[in-house]
Symmetry: C2
Subunit: 113 residues, 2 copies
Amino acid sequence: MKTNKLMRLEAAGWTIGSTEDFLQLNNDEAQMVALKFSLVCAVKKSRIKHKLSQIDLAQRMKSSQSRIAKIEAGDASVSLDLIVRALIASGASTRDIQSAFKTNERACDVALK
Amino acid sequence: MKTNKLMRLEAAGWTIGSTEDFLQLNNDEAQMVALKFSLVCAVKKSRIKHKLSQIDLAQRMKSSQSRIAKIEAGDASVSLDLIVRALIASGASTRDIQSAFKTNERACDVALK
DNA sequence: TGCGCGTATGTCGATATTGACATAAACTAC
DNA sequence: GTAGTTTATGTCAATATCGACATACGCGCA
């Protein structure tokens, strides 16, 4: 019997698994953030490696310098789409892009400066 | 001296490299499309592998069944963000995600059915 | 000092993307 | 058959994201 307490909980607006869902969501969120971070790092690395200013890169992908700055700053208003576009436009190779998806990257700043 | 013809062209609204930019853009676009395609395939594979219905997956990522359908159909209104979120939520491992970024995947349908 | 260059930050109107919903279609199993 | 399950498609109001612009900051150099 799993009815009694369960039903009371559900009556109160809870469902079984809600905790797991919550944690799962957090975990997924974390993965997403880590992924974005890696890619952002890769963008900056690739841009500098190819000796491009933010303006150069912006022109390449028909965006604006401020967008590039926001990308590299990890601004909340930039999508994964834009990050990956920037990565591609910056001249990163397919291999670079792929390896950027390893989330176990070292801290970005360290590698950059 | 690269001034003469160049200046005339620029006066006409052209800049050097515009053709390259054009091709570059197309190439970047193509890379982006290929990437999305690979990921979409990976989502469907992973979802089925984990025996999830579109509704299940939708609940996991707090989205809707119709969105999942659109994702897997390659609808124009789905962002890379959502695709990757779906991939993560479907239970794909980090390794799965990474390997999904190899653009030289085989056709999706073949593998799926 | 001031000037040029690259970058950071805030704002804003226009556009893209979202979840939700309705509904149809495809497919099983009875 | 039809009832149940899964997936596909269209619509829409709410929100997220966009490029563009202004502007400030840091930094090297004359």
